[in-house]
Symmetry: C2
Subunit: 875 residues, 2 copies
């Protein structure tokens, strides 16, 4: 018997997402719930793999299973595929395991040809509807399946409407639409050199193949990469008998969320459009009506929908994103899935669902994407600045938050400007999947067309970027790269500001400030803290950062970079004179000047952290980074050091390295200049003693030696630190504990961790450097390489943003195992950028680290990610 590739909806259920995709599984599930679902079937994700690996040909055995399913549909509906009297029409939709807004290839009304259209007109008594359906089908099929640009069709349709004096498609008559059909068929023939296919089966096979191929398109690759979805999952195809929202004034279509996915408010939220098909709402061709209005227009349908929403939410225990169609006042559910939501909404919904008794706190913790918390912590407009600003337009508040940036008119321009460090606002007529990368790079998006469920709105909410949509007053001139609003012309590069929570548009830059956090946040984070095992520390170089991080829930400092403290003007000159010293004596003299600064910095941090652990890293960067940039600075240094500028410049130049990242830095500086380490140790210990004396805090500094490659090297530096620390402690007469540990950021340190752990009391993975060395890719130079590699599907993600578990992770695993073998209670943490990335945090949990450390604003994200990792792996 051949393998089963085709499943009727009635054969499936909600657990079969891997095989049927999310859409197919949910349609099957809803049938079992007794909801009104138009009958249909699914061609499985396994068929996708067969198709794409088999030279993109649909094998005979799949075709025949499809034929059998169509026959079954014909039996259920009493219609016949390609029939001239009562034709069966179907929709063809993709549906993969995970939601894929990047893949929008849908074909409606499939099964129409000249004869069947006549049959449809007769069967429904509605020739206008029949030809409207046919012209839609020709355009969709040509565009989506065959790849004839839809712009040719749209242009021809617009010209035709203009010729006929029609404002919208609704103003056209049946004959007009028949004429449009002929125009569309001619466009197809001119482009393809052959007639539009009239055989329904051929249309169907082609469409199924096209869905499978769409899994291979660059947009899909781009989305999967962002979402970490493996190529191997494949997509299923849903073939469903058509119901028609475009059958007249008692028909319509809508897209709904069971709660407000912007704010989390418990109220059905969405839009509908009378006499339209679903694509019209999503594409934003007419402006739809808010769902609430349906209660007045069609109270029966409205009530049915409310009941369906309640049923689905109780069943799925989450907010649902539902597509509906009503055909002559009969309601159909075409799709349901968990609704994408903003961070604020996600948090409120999770907390509400617990309060409503639908889910447990543990389930709630799993319902919020940690990255979404970022939105809650993002800046909002400064109140005073906002008061002074003038609103020049208002449209839909499509994705909340405040954004301010320079105007750009294409995704590419945004990406280019963003690469230069500019903050950008993308302004578009409407967005499409090609714009995804540009949107991701922008601060916010402003669109002329489209509603709250338009592409721009859905994607922006998913990404957590601000969006104002459907501002039709905006007149864009794409060629000139300008737009007009409120009588003013804005050029590329001009500043505007957007409030995605109110829909307001400002023709100027407005200062932004940090946002405030709701009560739900604390409640939710307390749940997260209950489940997580990983501690969360922060990377902080100042008392201010430290205080901020504590506010966000940080439990200690995982990394204080001592070098950042040196860049203030009154210090850098002493640091420079230290670096450029020619003798140990000169160097020590300059170091002596730096001690008070370092000591007071450390004391401030200890005070802010009270008794929380504080890890301080010894000087790390290559010394060349501190050299003067201007002649004035050289002159000042020359005066201080009492040496000619030329001598100082020569010495500064001699510090230049070919590959500074692999040069004289980290603990290598301590080996060459132990006096620097002595100075820093003195400051670290003296400050701790001072704070202990002043406040009684039991400060236990964790002194971290960077860039270790060998146990003997570590022991050498440790000896310098220990001797100094002991002397300072002895002289003070105050007892003080401290730890000496190391960054693990060089492959060799991982490989020899058993040896290193003999001396090191803690390890902190410096995964920035470790990733650089493991890949042999310099972060400073990675841009071009990573772009090429991600575009060519060689790397799934930027390994500097998302920890590479296969390579870097394997080294970490080795290091953890070897380190623990020598010192079972060794303290393990991570302080690279990855410490704030949920995917990486999950891996740290799996490795059994004690803590992650990240920037203050990432602390809540890390807390939640750590909780989710614990729930996922310690079930």
């Amino acid at each position: 018997m051949s393998k089963k590739y085709v499943y009727m909806f009635t054969e499936g259920d909600g657990t079969m997402k891997e095989l049927l995709g999310g859409k197919g599984a949910n349609l099957s599930e809803m049938i079992h719930l007794g909801l009104p679902i138009p009958p249909g079937f699914v061609v499985s994700t396994e068929a996708c793999t067969v198709y794409n690996k088999g030279g993109k040909v649909l094998p005979g055995e799949i075709k025949s299973q499809v034929d059998k399913a169509i026959a079954e549909l014909e039996g259920v509906t009493g219609k016949k595929f390609g029939d001239t009297a009562n034709p069966l029409l179907v929709s063809v939709r993709s549906g993969s395991r995970a939601s894929m807004p990047g893949m929008m290839d849908t074909v409606l009304n499939l099964g129409l040809n000249d004869e069947a259209t006549v049959g449809l007109a007769n069967a429904t008594g509605n020739p206008k509807f029949a030809y409207d359906s046919y012209r839609r089908f020709i355009m969709m099929f040509s565009d989506v399946v065959i790849g004839v640009s839809k712009h040719s069709f749209e242009r021809a349709f617009d010209e035709f409407k203009e010729k006929k004096g029609a404002k919208t498609d609704l103003d056209l008559s049946a004959d007009d639409l028949k004429e449009v059909v002929n125009i569309f068929k001619k466009i197809y023939k001119d482009d393809q050199g052959k007639d539009f296919p009239s055989d329904a089966k051929e249309q169907l096979y082609e469409s199924i193949g096209a869905v499978f191929r769409s899994w291979d398109n660059p947009r899909a690759f781009d989305y999967r990469r962002r979402q970490n979805i493996p190529y191997e999952w494949g997509t299923a195809v849903n073939v469903q008998s058509m119901v028609f929202g475009n059958m007249g004034d008692t028909s319509g279509t809508g897209v709904l969320f069971t709660r407000n996915v912007s704010t989390g408010e418990k109220a059905i939220f969405g839009e509908y459009m009378i006499n339209a098909q679903g694509e019209d709402v999503v594409a934003g061709v007419r402006t739809p009506s808010p769902f609430a209005e349906l209660e007045k227009d069609m109270p029966k349908i409205y009530k049915e929908i409310v009941e369906v929403c309640d049923k689905l939410e109780r069943h799925y225990k989450d907010v649902q994103d539902i597509e509906i169609t009503f055909e002559n006042e009969k309601l159909y559910i075409l799709q349901t899935r968990n609704g994408l939501r903003t961070g604020a909404a996600a948090l409120k919904i999770a907390v509400d669902l617990v309060d409503e008794g639908l889910i447990t706190p543990k389930e709630a913790v799993m319902k919020v994407d940690p990255m979404h918390l970022d939105q809650l912590l993002h800046p909002m407009f400064d109140t005073a600045a906002l008061k002074a600003a003038k609103v020049i337009g208002k449209a839909l508040p499509a994705s909340p938050g405040a954004a301010c940036g320079k105007v750009y008119f294409s995704a590419d321009d945004v990406k280019a400007a963003c690469a230069k460090g500019e903050k950008c606002i993308l302004v578009r007529l409407e967005t499409s999947p090609e714009d995804i990368e540009g949107m991701a790079s922008s601060e916010g998006v402003l669109t002329v067309r489209g509603g709250m469920t338009s592409h721009a709105a859905v994607v922006a909410r998913g990404m957590g970027i601000c969006c104002v949509s459907g501002c039709e007053e905006v007149k864009i001139n794409e060629e000139a790269k300008t737009f007009e609003l409120d009588g003013k012309t804005f050029k590329e590069g001009d500043y505007i500001s957007l409030n995605g929570s109110t829909g307001e548009i400002f023709g100027e830059a407005i200062k932004t400030v940090e946002s405030e956090i709701s009560g739900d946040f604390a409640k939710f984070m307390a749940w997260a803290d209950e489940f997580r095992i990983l501690k969360v520390r922060t990377n902080a170089d100042t008392p201010k950062d430290a205080a901020k991080a504590i506010e966000f829930g940080a439990e200690g400092i995982g990394l204080t970079r001592t070098e950042h403290m040196f860049f203030e003007e009154d210090r850098i000159i002493h640091l420079r004179s230290m670096i450029l010293a020619e003798t140990v004596e000169e160097r020590e003299k300059a170091l002596e000047k730096l001690i008070p600064y370092q000591e007071s910095d450390f004391a401030g941090i200890y005070e802010a952290m009270q008794e929380r652990p504080v890890t301080i890293r010894l000087l790390d960067p290559p010394l060349h980074e501190f050299m003067p940039h201007s002649e004035d600075e050289y002159a000042a240094l020359s005066k201080l050091m009492d040496k000619p500028v030329s001598v100082i410049k020569d010495k500064a130049n001699s510090l230049h390295e070919v590959n500074p990242m692999m040069g004289h830095r980290g603990c290598r500086l301590s080996v060459t200049y132990p006096e620097i380490t002595r100075m820093q140790t003195k400051a670290i210990i003296q400050a701790a003693i001072k704070v202990k004396k002043a406040h009684g805090y039991n400060v236990v500094p964790e002194i971290m030696i960077p860039l270790t490659v060998d146990i003997k090297e570590f022991a050498f530096v440790k000896e310098v630190v220990e001797t100094t620390a002991k002397a300072v402690i002895e002289a003070s007469g105050v007892a003080l504990d401290y730890l000496i540990g190391t960054m693990i950021e060089i492959p060799r340190a991982c490989i020899t961790s058993d040896a290193v752990a003999k001396e090191a009391e803690f390890f902190s993975f410096g995964t920035n450097d470790l990733t650089q060395m493991t890949y042999g890719i310099s972060r400073d130079d990675a841009g071009k390489i990573l772009t090429d590699y991600i575009e060519n599907n060689i790397f799934e993600a930027d390994p500097f943003a998302r920890l590479d578990r296969t390579g870097v992770g394997e080294l970490m695993k080795m290091s953890v195992a070897k380190g623990k073998a020598t010192r079972p209670d060794i303290k393990l943490g991570i302080c690279g950028e990855h410490g704030g990335d949920p995917y990486s945090i999950e891996f740290c949990h799996m490795l059994g680290l004690d803590y992650v450390s990240c920037s203050p604003f990432r602390v809540p994200i890390a807390r939640l990610a750590a909780a989710q990792a614990a729930v996922t792996h310690n079930k």
Copy 2:
């Protein structure tokens, strides 16, 4: 019972080197052979560890064992330690497991004080001898044990001789020497603030401690580092009853080799000095007589020595380096050890010993240090240039080979000049252990004093550098940094040339050429080839290099760097225009121009190698390396590319990277510019087909993709190579096999070798880059770091010269295991610098690699090292 730390010579034997050191074990062994050895005992290497780890104090239990051994010596000799009538005198010498020419701390005549000296004078009836011994002892003990500079003593002695009108020490009377003793004691007291120690036991304990401490001195560290001797081995101390070569004209001392260690000739070779102690010969204070003269002077002793030499050689099956003393015509052997020898001598001796039936070919293979073969392959003077050159001096041919370089007068100056890339000759009055590093950096050494067994001669032969010693006509002015010879003054930086095989000195630079190889060489290398398992390939970029390597026994090419071919003037401009192209079309046009060059290069190499395997690496370096350096070059490029210079310069500057070593290079170039890879593949395959057609050779190119980090990346580039290769082969109509493999030079490639081996048909370890990434140390910037690390005893060796088995080696091991797990027959090689280093080659053998690849001149070294590894590990 307490541990045994002291062994009488009669208690030991030759197998106990670890415990007794080489010297002690050999003395014990010689006693069992019935040779005349002055009685004595050894304080073991274990005592050294106890001493150095125990705060450098000699524990009571060791002291009492020493006391017991002294009592035993007193019994055997009938003398008494510190006795005023017939005092027992001893020598104290270090003796570690391996020969340590860097440690020369020897004390003779220990046990003397004012009273004992009178006793010695009475017992021998020779007061001159007694006071000579006493003054020697005071100086040696003060210098070696206590650390009073010996120069004060030497200066005082020279002044005293001048005052007395004495030409040498022999011209002084007993009373004179007694006066010298008093002067020396005063120097000691002035320096130390107390009297010279008169208690014999105290002298002995102090001396034993001093030997142990000398294991900790920087010279010893330096030597151990070079020779890869672990610190933990420690040194033993040999305490031996004195015999006296300075007892008059029937006494003497000598240093002998059982064969000529310069040439390998079978004839006793060495020097002796009448009425002298051993130190006099080694230090070169008087010029000794060649051993052959002893036959006339003292035929009985001569005959005895010849017999001893024969006996020792037969026993040890190797050339012996023997120290003798004869006291009133009675011969004593004070030491024997395997003799250091030149490469040429090592080879000849090994072959001769086989011919004489003393050893097997397998044993012979183990007797030659692979690095010594380097000497045989070193350049000699160009015959024509030599004819034209004028000999300006002649002295002892202390270490063979030809050297030409600039004159420097101190080891530090040599090191500094050498660091700048200069070739240097070190010119010294005499050398001492402090000069070792400077000698190692120089091309050759010229000394004024000392014989064939002087420090300079012994060390230079060991290092394989050219040395001419004992040229007393040379007048050095150290302050002015000049020397005079043959009426001419040479300043620092002037060129001279040395012939270490003839002893000739030339006051000019003489061109050098490659040396010729003796018949013994082929015979010996054939033995090596018989035992080795590793294949030896070469790194060669030109047909000329390839031919040279075959001459040296290379079995294939492990690395052809395609980029080196581009630097010729007529090519580089096309390469540049390719790199600076703005479109794929421009780039392909430029690449088209390069194909004929690449193709003819490859064809030449294939022809030279015939059917031997040839591995060709695709373009590897960052493109910035190829950019123009001069305005002329930019102008030419501007003309060729028909673009303004400014545009070209901008583009060239944009290629600059912060860390080019971790930048856009290797197969990353192939991902961005697959057209480069297509061009190179075309050239590789077309050339192979051409040579196959022309000569019928079955050429099987091995195409090597550099810098792989991920299987998908490798597969991407492989696809480009394969598609191109298939097309070229198909078009040619000639069948051609080829392999596609990768460099393994990035840690991630090692970690993911199981995946990479799915696609790669061979791995070649690029240990230069792998070492860089594993350590996070850039080779370009390593100088300062490595110097500091080696000086601080953190690194034992430069990991770029000697493979780091612990870190880099562990990654290689992982890669081999994972690669073989996926593809059991995967071909494995190494093509980094380490491929020519014996210690690293041994590791490659242990890993089970198929081949090593090294520069042509290193091929014989690699062949021998591979054979030794096989013999050592496959016993």
